[in-house]
């Protein structure tokens, strides 16, 4: 998935769509995707927040006169090519599909939570009713029907771009051709497949 940080307006329609589409618990601490707001002050202080993942909107920025720049960053599972979560799962319940999506087999996960610990991005949680690991699936059930993930579909500004990385004529391939892209926490060598354009160095 490609994400153009400059296009994100923080409306969090994607978060709502994701929760609806994927049966993610409504409570505020379970998210397959969420929106972070960064406020960078003139004195280099950085304030980050994501109240209820962005669903309820963001409160007014305190002391606006001290703000240097501010932006929103959508977050989700990075579907890493070298995923620590898959590495640590003791029973192999979490795996990479042939097309590169990281999934959890809910009928197999023993709920040991090691994958949640191993994910550097906070992209996993334990489903409060199913007691298994939950995470973004890139809406795999939609992909197999030829649709794009729900978050991509609903984004009003086209900040999320989906497609195959290696094909030439996909929106994602074009996005990666015309933008400088970065990944999150590249130093951990997880080889993420969520590619960010216009990403600020403060984002972790």
């Amino acid at each position: 998935m490609g994400i153009d940080v400059r296009k994100c307006i923080g409306c969090a329609r994607c978060v709502v769509a994701c929760k609806t589409e994927n049966d993610v618990p409504e409570e505020p601490h379970f998210f397959n995707t969420w929106i972070e707001r960064y406020v960078i002050r003139r004195d280099h202080e950085v304030d980050v927040d994501s109240p209820n993942g962005g669903i309820d909107g963001f409160p007014p920025i305190a002391e606006p006169a001290t703000v240097r720049r501010t932006f929103f960053v959508p977050k989700l599972c990075n579907h890493c090519d070298n995923p620590p979560c898959v590495q640590v799962c003791p029973v192999g319940a979490t795996f990479i599909t042939q097309d590169g999506v990281v999934l959890v087999d809910e009928g197999y996960c023993i709920g040991c939570r090691y994958c949640v610990q191993a994910c550097p991005y906070g992209a996993r949680y334990i489903h409060p009713e199913k007691h298994v690991a939950g995470k973004c699936t890139f809406c795999y059930h939609r992909l197999v029907d030829g649709l794009v993930p729900a978050c991509v579909e609903v984004c009003p500004t086209g900040a999320r771009i989906f497609g195959e990385v290696e094909e030439r004529a996909t929106p994602l391939a074009r996005f990666m051709q015309f933008n400088d892209v970065q990944v999150l926490k590249g130093h951990l060598n997880t080889k993420p497949k969520a590619y960010y354009a216009n990403l600020d160095g403060e984002v972790r």
């Binding site: 601490h29 980050v48 620590p84 003791p90 996960c109 023993i110 040991c112 298994v132």
Partner: protein, 397 residues
């Protein structure tokens, strides 16, 4: 909560039960390594604790997987770790390391060590006891000199295999944490080694306490040579353990990576009591000074000459302080590692539940269970011979 944490980080994943797990396995590994001192390294002074160490290791090993099991979201699927392990997963090796240690090392060693006694007890006892002992011998009732020699050498070899196995067991638990690159508080190549030496410290301290208490409650005389030797080894293990911890700490400070600021906040605000007060001061520095001053193993007669009664009390208090310190180490690793966000921008809090499957009551229960098992084991397989020595109060010298 303070600063920013990822929304999914609100719930702490590994609770008090997972603090208990490395604590218990550490005691197992430590007690076994103590037993091996006598068996393989011929430290004859600690002989009175040999069997007690083995039984302690066994009792704690039997309980060690329970907190893990109770913590799983789907404990009914736990057998999948054995059937379809993901060979890339450190945690998947748990079942095999555990089974190896339990079946091949501890049970076999206990069996070979007790076989002769069990045969004799089977002959002496009546009724159910007789049958229990007979079943425990597995029908191997030959106690000729030749077969006893075999028992002895088999036991010795198993201990030789057992030492690296004990290292493996607890080093492996350290690896589970140390290999998580997502977590800068855990991710350290020193983690397995630190775990190992803290295991030795905790195991020796536990056996020291158990030896003193069981001897006192049987109204026997405490073997001061044994106790002094235990204290001496406890001191050595503590020095290595503390040095490694200090090295890890200094290394982090010196490297000063991007996580250093949040880790500083973590220590100053969330872990101050458990790390600085309990782990370092109470669990390490005070026992180190106390042992260094009174242990006759370090300087003939000790730097401070103390009567054996006073020394016993000092050892006992030091060992209890050390246990509190080691439990704090486990807490600081397991809970501490989850109190800061992987965004490195905020801290969260952990509130211990009182009841419930991961609560305080359960933890205390699981902490007491090994002692109950040990009590049964000691009744069944007495680690000491109560025969010849007359009943003398311990205070006599």
């Amino acid at each position: 909560m303070q600063g920013y944490i990822y929304p999914n980080e609100f719930e702490l994943q590994w609770s008090l039960l997972i603090v208990l797990y490395p604590y218990l396995t550490g005691l197992v590994a430590g007690a076994f390594i103590l037993a091996s001192l006598e068996r393989v390294f011929n430290v004859k002074e600690v002989q009175p604790t040999y069997r007690l160490s083995l039984l302690t290791a066994l009792a704690f090993l039997l309980v060690a997987p329970l907190p893990l099991l109770a913590h799983l979201g789907h404990p009914e699927r736990s057998y999948e770790i054995f059937l379809t392990p993901n060979t890339n997963s450190a945690m998947a090796m748990f079942g095999f390391v555990y089974a190896w240690y339990l079946a091949v090392v501890l049970l076999l060693e206990v069996w070979f060590d007790y076989r002769k006694d069990m045969v004799l007890w089977a002959r002496e006892s009546r009724g159910v006891r007789r049958w229990i002992y007979y079943v425990l011998t597995l029908g191997a009732t030959d106690i000729s000199e030749k077969s006893l020699r075999f028992d002895d050498s088999a036991g010795r070899w198993i201990t030789v295999i057992g030492i690296p196995s004990a290292f493996l067991l607890h080093g492996y638990v350290g690896f589970i944490f140390g290999s998580i690159k997502a977590n800068p508080w855990w991710s350290s190549v020193l983690m397995p080694v630190v775990f190992l030496f803290s295991a030795m410290v905790s195991g020796i301290a536990l056996v020291l306490v158990l030896y003193m208490l069981t001897t006192m409650f049987r109204w026997r005389k405490i073997d001061m040579a044994c106790l002094d030797k235990l204290a001496q080894f406890l001191f050595y293990a503590l020095v290595v353990d503390f040095s490694l911890e200090a090295l890890d700490f200094i290394h982090r400070l010196y490297e000063s990576e991007e996580s250093i600021e949040i880790l500083r906040q973590l220590i100053e605000s969330r872990l101050f009591i458990s790390l600085i007060v309990l782990q370092v001061v109470m669990g390490t520095v005070i026992p180190l000074i106390a042992l260094a001053l009174v242990s006759p193993g370090l300087k003939k007669g000790g730097f401070l000459r103390t009567p054996p009664e006073l020394r016993q009390i000092i050892y006992l208090v030091a060992a209890v302080f050390i246990q509190i310190g080691i439990f704090s180490i486990r807490w600081n690793v397991v809970i501490g590692g989850q109190l800061f966000s992987k965004s490195l921008r905020g801290l969260t809090v952990y509130k211990v539940e009182l009841l419930g499957i991961e609560g305080l009551a359960m933890t205390i229960g699981l902490l007491l269970l090994p002692f109950v098992i040990l009590w049964v084991l000691v009744k069944l397989l007495p680690p000491w011979s109560d025969g010849p020595e007359p009943d003398t109060p311990p205070a006599s010298g």
